[in-house]
């Protein structure tokens, strides 16, 4: 269980999160929707303990992570994996070395075993052709795939965190990435790998998630499933999810 209790976070006078509270089970498929600059990335960083809130508690699996040291946080972070907005690949390493990064760091496997695992992952994500390329030679969609492969190499997380995985991609590639994300988190709870996706692209979120939250002015103003999202009466949220209705016919 991931729980935020009255989390407050501000940069200077700018209050980003204002007494934010929610609970998410590890196996859930949640989309956090919100405009840019609303603090979506910030929430993911808080879950991982990369930044600390000014006030409030963040409780992961019953443990308060806001008081943990960097070394205690290691075990908490093992429960998750994250794909950052632009992929955050190590730009001095090839695709193969990026995916192998964690295995080299601490798996203690031999080079052959690492190569085998890397190849398996790369095949699973359909990026075999790119294995010897450098990150700057990849398209946006490829970069996300490599980032997903790299985060899966570390082991099977309980919950995958995706930071705008489809932003800046063409519709076809977006579809592809969404299908991939969906497939990775298929299966029945509580065994399946959960996901938290933060995005402003409502239609992409609709493809992978079954619980939706809307973040506005540092608070969650909506929390519910697709049905209730479409029936919302909040005019602003209706405007935000407008695209769901316009593409209705196509789906």
């Amino acid at each position: 269980m991931i729980e935020f209790r009255d989390v407050v976070l501000s940069y200077g006078d700018h209050v980003v999160l204002d007494r934010l509270s929610f609970r998410i089970n590890f196996y859930e498929r949640v989309a956090i929707l919100g405009g840019s600059g609303e603090g979506k990335t910030t929430i993911l960083k808080l879950i991982l303990g990369l930044i600390r809130p000014d006030e409030g508690r963040i409780i992961i699996d019953g443990q308060d992570i806001t008081v943990m040291s960097e070394s205690e946080l290691r075990d908490v972070r093992m429960k998750f994996s994250i794909v950052f907005q632009e992929g955050a690949l190590f730009d001095s390493l090839s695709v193969r070395d990026n995916v192998a990064f964690c295995l080299r760091e601490y798996s203690g496997l031999s080079e052959e075993e690492i190569e085998e695992r890397v190849r398996a992952l790369i095949r699973r994500l359909g990026i075999e052709d790119a294995i010897d390329l450098m990150p700057e030679e990849l398209s946006g969609g490829m970069q996300r795939r490599v980032a997903i492969a790299r985060s899966l190499a570390a082991g099977r997380p309980k919950t995958m965190l995706y930071d705008e995985p489809t932003t800046g991609l063409d519709p076809l590639t977006s579809d592809n990435i969404c299908a991939m994300i969906k497939e990775l988190s298929s299966g029945e709870p509580p065994d399946r790998m959960g996901l938290i996706i933060v995005t402003h692209k409502v239609s992409d979120a609709a493809k992978v998630a079954d619980r939706f939250m809307y973040l506005k002015n540092g608070k969650i103003t909506f929390d519910g499933d697709m049905k209730s999202l479409k029936e919302t009466t909040d005019p602003e949220l209706r405007a935000f999810i407008n695209e769901l209705f316009t593409i209705e016919g196509r789906c």
Partner: protein, 254 residues
């Protein structure tokens, strides 16, 4: 910036500058990163160091030779040039070039890794950014800057020799015999101790600035500029302090 943030920054810098060098004694040691950094900081800086040193040596020698000539002491050019280069000008000039080339490079590289979330990824994977990124840079700087300084000093002395022998038409062998006379422990120790400390300061300041980058391209500009400006100031200030301390330690009267 309020007081609390200021204290936090000093604390972060202190932690970084203490942990980074200690990192070399704790497993895992990132040998490959250290070698890559040494190549970048050392071999990559050789050209600028050679160029800067050669011309500083020649200019200094011209100046000193002209001034001593007016006093009728031109043959002592070597002694003055040698001492100035080895103890003062060599270490400082090369450290300044190093700050401009390597310090700015470290700050901008780590800064863009911060902005691109690559540093966050390291932490998510349980890898300490200080050990993985800062330690190799600090180690390579404190090893490479003294070596570059020794090479640069030698080139400067050759530049001085060229001026003395072929422009001022003095005895080249007397120049070298004066240089040999000043190659005593005190001078060499002072000349090596300085770049060792400058290398430590430049790398810690630049890495700290890089890792505290936020706010996009403007933030990157700010941290790169601060890295070079702060390094420059610290080199000049600490050079003065070090000169005082070394003269005192080595028992020389001012």
């Amino acid at each position: 910036m309020n007081l609390k943030e200021g204290i936090k920054k000093v604390q972060d810098f202190y932690i970084l500058s203490v942990k980074a060098p200690i990192g070399i004694f704790q497993r895992p040691v990132y040998i490959r990163d250290i070698i890559e950094q040494m190549d970048y900081a050392g071999a990559g800086s050789l050209f600028i160091v050679l160029l800067v040193s050669l011309f500083i040596g020649m200019a200094l020698s011209l100046q000193v030779s002209a001034e001593l000539g007016a006093l009728g002491l031109r043959m002592y050019t070597g002694r003055i040039v040698g001492i100035s280069i080895i103890r003062e000008i060599g270490p400082v000039a090369i450290a300044l070039s190093f700050a401009g080339r390597v310090g700015s490079g470290m700050a901008s590289e780590l800064g863009s890794m911060m902005l691109g979330h690559q540093v966050d990824i390291l932490r998510v994977y349980g890898i300490s950014p200080i050990k993985k990124l800062v330690t190799p840079r600090v180690i390579s700087s404190i090893v490479m800057l003294p070596i570059l300084t020794i090479i640069g000093d030698a080139v400067s002395l050759f530049g001085g020799y060229y001026i003395v022998a072929f422009v001022s038409h003095q005895s080249g062998s007397f120049y070298w015999s004066q240089i040999r006379d000043i190659m005593i422990f005190e001078n060499i120790f002072a000349g090596i101790a300085k770049p060792f400390i400058f290398g430590y300061l430049i790398s810690c300041i630049s890495c700290y600035m890089g890792l505290s980058t936020s706010g996009g391209a403007r933030g990157l500009r700010r941290s790169t500029t601060s890295a070079v400006v702060l390094s420059t100031i610290m080199i000049i200030l600490s050079d003065f302090v070090l000169t005082r301390i070394l003269l005192y330690l080595l028992g020389m009267r001012v």
